[in-house]
Amino acid sequence: MFSLFQKKYNNPALLEKIRETQERWFTFLGKLEARMEEMSTAAIPELRDLFNQDNDPYKRAHGHMLQGLLGQINQMRHKANEAREENIFCFVSAAEATLPAITSNAGQEYHNALYAFRMACSDRYHLFDEKLNHHITLLQKAAGEQDLEAIYREELTIFENIRDKFSCKQCGGNITIPQMFFIATYVNCPFCKTQNTFMPSTGAQLVLHQARSLAEQRTAHLLHAYEESVPKNETLYKQYLRAMFDEWNKIVPDMAGENEKFYQRLLNDHLINKLK
């Protein structure tokens, strides 16, 4: 009977190695997190600053910087993934291979220790991953949104001021532009009936480009209400989508027919994703 106890598998070195690896893994992730925290805290005011300075209508300089920062964060994710693969998973598999069967008493103890180690490391990794996603959201939302409503109102005023100021290139008669156009269009001269080509200003053309974003900004509270509802209330989503498209059509009435098809598609897509 004593000889049985003597034969019992004993490997304190492995336990020590497990403890050490876990400690190293926790410190490693802690360092990555500190670095991430430091970078995003320093970057957020800079991002906002660049967004406000950026004269480009698409805010591309801000976009470049944001991409650079997100690249850094993804690099950290990549590093953590690699380290997890090498130092946790490979280590666990290699150690398991040397242990006695899990059904034996001693084997079970060590398998349990390995299992606990693996779970602790994974949980720590998930915490890290959550923080990483949190920082990504912070960076993406750092600059806020462009005040599209103000830009749109300004374009409307500009258009009201210039709509009577054009004359027919053929006969010189005054032409009043009948409505706000966002793309080049033919306008009839009321005197000689010549078809003049009216080319809207760059600002007016951008309204078409920003119309959906503006409509989304106007109806953001409805989307928020849907996202806050628990469980998700489909009626609220339909209300939001309808209101968003109504606003969109108000801004660009010419596209109402096409937008209606798009509305149906988005609604269907939403229902399909819901059923999954």
């Binding site: 970078m39 600053d49 910087m65």
Partner: protein
Amino acid sequence: MSQEENKRTLTYLERLKQKAATQENYGGEVVKEDAKMKVRDCPECGAGRAYQHGLTACAYCGFVFMDVKLTDGVHIKKENNS
């Protein structure tokens, strides 16, 4: 965080910001243009294109402005064919 590491982040951020701000965009700067009116009159006889005569050919001398057949678009309709 040590002083040195803090400095490293700052210089990295400054470099990134500067690079983002000075990087040339694909397609160049956006040039803001004012709204304008143009007309395409007939190069043969100088007549304008009137709505009721269509857009594809000159109603006076028959000069062909475009070979394509117009279809319904946002502002141009298929009735605009000459």
